[in-house]
């Protein structure tokens, strides 16, 4: 089975700070791969490099056989992504957001329409498709983003904490669909989450990253066995310690606060 994602000695430095320290891993095609780690461990930085929006300091990456620093278009065509932060246009309707995505990805008109209808129904937003996204709750936005990531039938799905703010019903529904997709269409899934129970249930394999280094990689069962823990959460804590990580508020967080004040305590 071919490797859908290959990472070798990947490094990312921000000035003196080393966010990702020489990590290596592979994700075989069709597998669901959980990328776990405490806040600030380097998960999102790694995803950014895999998805062409951040250049690595050094190391080698292949996504679907292409190099994200050189064959950006092929890499971008290969994956769909749900980002950690919202990334919808609030001033457009749910349908328009998906339509814009379909046009950007070159999905032909007829198929685009069909797939949008199908996916928007699937995430339970069929009757809200003409509503502006700014009227949506956090969970509804998340569902819409999942639908959007699947619209162009990607070979790989990147999910950066996709289930934050979702109720158990929606979470199950979406994971069920993604597992089905992985089985039926051999879609590779690369996800991060802080819900260890979720990772235990859906991931074929997990890697634990801490302080920019991968500290363990195996199946969830093997990881529990190795650490002699009953749950993946305990195994995770055994591997990464009890210390609570500080994460600085970045420019985005500050802006969100400003935006909220600006819009008179807006909806998000």
């Amino acid at each position: 089975m071919a490797d859908m994602i290959l990472v070798q000695d990947l490094v990312k430095n921000y000035g003196d700070f080393c966010a990702v320290k020489q990590i290596s891993f592979t994700v075989p095609e069709g597998k669901i791969f959980g990328f776990l780690g405490p806040n600030g461990a380097g998960k999102t930085t790694t995803i950014k490099m895999l998805t062409t929006v951040l250049d690595p300091t050094s190391g080698k990456i292949l996504v679907n056989g292409y190099d994200p620093t050189r064959d950006q278009k092929q890499v971008r065509r290969s994956f769909g992504i749900v980002f950690q932060d919202p990334s919808l246009d609030d001033e457009l309707t749910a349908y328009e957001n998906l339509d814009l995505h379909g046009v950007l990805y070159g999905v032909p008109h007829g198929e685009r329409k069909k797939r949008i209808e199908m996916l928007i129904d699937f995430v339970g937003l069929g009757d809200r498709k003409k509503n502006f996204v700014k009227e949506f709750s956090g969970g509804m936005k998340r569902r819409l983003e999942v639908a959007r990531a699947l619209l162009h039938k990607p070979r790989i799905l990147f999910l950066d904490e996709p289930t934050v703010g979702l109720d158990p019903q929606t979470r199950n529904h979406i994971w069920g669909y993604i597992q089905q997709l992985s089985k039926d269409e051999n879609v590779t899934v690369f996800f991060t989450t802080h819900y260890m129970e979720e990772a235990d249930r859906v991931a074929n394999e997990v890697a634990v990253i801490d302080h920019g280094t991968i500290v363990a990689q195996s199946t969830p069962a093997a990881l529990k066995e190795k650490t002699a823990c009953a749950t993946l959460e305990d195994a995770f804590i055994a591997l990464t310690g009890h210390a609570i990580r500080a994460e600085e508020a970045n420019a985005t967080d500050r802006m969100r606060m400003m935006g909220r004040a600006w819009r008179g305590g807006g909806r998000r």
Binding site: L54, P86, S87, L88, A251, M258
Partner: protein, 248 residues
């Protein structure tokens, strides 16, 4: 091409859907038109310069276009903070297409705002002169819009958050507006001011627009056409370059 089109359409949709923004951005030009236009009209006439509203209106139209165009570029910061920028940056289209779509959309919005202000000027008493260059007025308006959408894009691409925003307004946009000949004639100025005017891209846009509308050129039609066209092409290039360097 499809990316340019759909991103351009997005800007237009956002524009027509926020009446508050449309009306809000009319406030400043109207204020200038009324306060200066009517306030200085008598003095201007007494100095033998004719009708100040006629002289001022092309400057006020340029002002509306300038502000809206720069804001459209700076909207990149907003999109970056609210996430939508990421969605476009991971799409399998070149960044050049993305940024051209954004700049074109922003320029069209600014141009339309310019047209609205133009109508308001007509209501305030502005009268065009039967000039052979009249059709060129549209051209100059659109070029000003594109040029400053390019400048806005440079700042939108480089700045990480809105902290630098007042800096841009007070140290870039306001000086560009005040030292452009929008409010006063380009001849008979103190030397330093005359040089500033000559270095300011907006001066040529204002002069071209004023010349096209009331047949009064300070620099001459050819100079205005050449400078504005070249600068616009240049800034679209610079804007695209800076946008293509964005990392998340």
């Amino acid at each position: 091409m499809r990316a340019i089109y759909i991103l351009c359409v997005r800007q237009l949709k956002r524009y027509v859907r926020s009446p508050a923004r449309i009306i809000g951005s009319l406030g400043q030009p109207i204020l200038f038109l009324i306060a200066l236009g009517f306030g200085l009209r008598a003095m201007f006439a007494r100095a033998g310069q004719g009708n100040y509203i006629n002289f001022l209106s092309p400057g006020i139209v340029s002002m509306a276009i300038l502000f809206n165009a720069v804001f459209s570029g700076i909207e990149i910061i907003w999109d970056r903070q609210f996430g939508f920028l990421k969605e476009t940056l991971v799409a399998p289209v070149s960044r050049t297409e993305i940024v051209l779509g954004r700049m074109l959309g922003g320029a069209i919005v600014a141009f339309v705002q310019g047209l609205v202000v133009f109508v308001i000027c007509l209501i305030a008493g502005f009268r065009m002169v039967a000039s052979p260059y009249l059709p060129l007025a549209i051209f100059f308006m659109f070029m000003i819009a594109l040029l400053f959408a390019g400048i806005g894009t440079v700042f939108g691409s480089v700045l990480q958050d809105m902290q630098g925003f007042p800096l841009i307004i007070n140290f870039l946009i306001m000086p560009i507006f005040f030292f452009s000949g929008a409010l006063f004639a380009a001849n008979g100025l103190p030397r330093v001011l005359a040089i500033l005017l000559r270095l300011n891209p907006l001066s040529y846009g204002v002069d071209g627009l004023r010349g096209a509308l009331i047949n009064q050129f300070a620099f001459g039609l050819t100079t205005d056409l050449v400078v504005v066209t070249l600068l616009t092409a240049f800034l679209l290039g610079i804007g695209s370059y800076f946008f293509s360097k964005i990392q998340l």
